[in-house]
Symmetry: C2
Subunit: 208 residues, 2 copies
């Protein structure tokens, strides 16, 4: 080979996680959150992303249990679904993305919202599910509206939309929403599908 | 609605791009690279990502022309393919990801490399294509090996793998590879599928 690089996938993971554990102050976090933080950092290459990590007490345990019991995982975009490692899922959990459902564009027009928000209205049942938002602030806002409307209570909301319009505000609203709602988020403008799906992977499979 | 937020997709894009243009020093870049930088920042929520943006002279023009002429777009992972906005593609370009091809795991074993690297061996023809790597440093290294082996010359390599093992090194190697190879990269540990696909979207459709 013309280049000298590590080719063994297990060794790449080992070295990656070792670097994260060496550089990040993971011990400031509850033990169950540490693999979440490790995979989150691994997904984006930024050690300091854990400075913006926020979560309800026990969120990691609740998410882990929900997945083990077969919770459906709703994803706001296909990129989130693609980022979830199926073989890690403990109960062959359904991974659902309704963004490209045939009825979603018309429903978006009907409710005067984005396609991402309209897609959230198709997440049924919400009760006990794991909802993962890695792209659209409007999807996260719409999800909170549905919970307020009595549509059900997810076991866990992983809300990590990205960007300049509504991301900061929707994540702040999630963190302040209710004591009854378990959440994991990354405050600020940073976020995205890779971060969001990495949290699911950590809850499903730890660092395995 | 319980929350006050922008629901109109066109207005969300407008405000997002306006924020990027206000905060980022885009005028330091050649004109053809400015929409690339705008969409790159938009994809990750980080203004300072343009400090790490690097490219060969004329890379944006070459990429734009290649797409207009119908170039195949090879993607290292499904997340990159999902992040490309099909309706922006000027020539109904093929979007190809060979990572989950049935033969890829056995080929990876045969060449003693990752599945991501093995998948690159299935990118045929390479000549004139647009190769997009948003995840695996090994895929970027393997692509450069294939070019050295005479497998063909892509029109453009968008090489933005992420992480702690090989990402920095593979992107450095890409930038130093050859005067004949057009590339766009983001140096350092940061990168990922969303950034990589945002570059394709910018070349295909500008900010439209």
């Amino acid at each position: 080979m013309a280049f000298d690089y590590v080719c063994d996938p297990a060794e790449i993971y080992r070295q990656s996680f070792a670097t994260v554990e060496r550089e990040a102050a993971l011990d400031r976090l509850p033990e169950a959150m540490q693999p979440v933080a490790t995979r989150l950092i691994h997904s984006c290459g930024m050690i300091d992303v854990i400075d913006d990590l926020a979560f309800s007490a026990g969120a990691a345990e609740v998410g882990r249990n929900a997945l083990a019991l077969g919770a459906t995982v709703y994803c706001d975009v296909e990129m989130v679904r693609s980022g979830i490692i199926s073989r890690l899922m403990p109960a062959d959990n359904l991974l659902v993305c309704t963004l490209n459902d045939p009825g979603t564009p018309a429903h978006a027009k009907a409710i005067g919202n984005t396609r991402s928000a309209a897609a959230v209205d198709l997440w049924e049942p919400l009760d006990g599910s794991v909802c993962v938002i890695g792209n659209a602030p409007t999807a996260l806002f719409r999800l909170m509206e549905r919970i307020l409307e009595g549509a059900g209570l997810p076991a866990l909301v992983i809300g990590i939309p990205v960007g300049f319009v509504g991301a900061v505000e929707s994540k702040q609203a999630l963190a302040e929403f209710s004591e009854d709602l378990n959440f994991i988020t990354v405050h600020g403008r940073r976020g995205g599908s890779a971060m969001a799906s990495s949290v699911v992977n950590a809850l499903a499979g730890g660092l395995g």
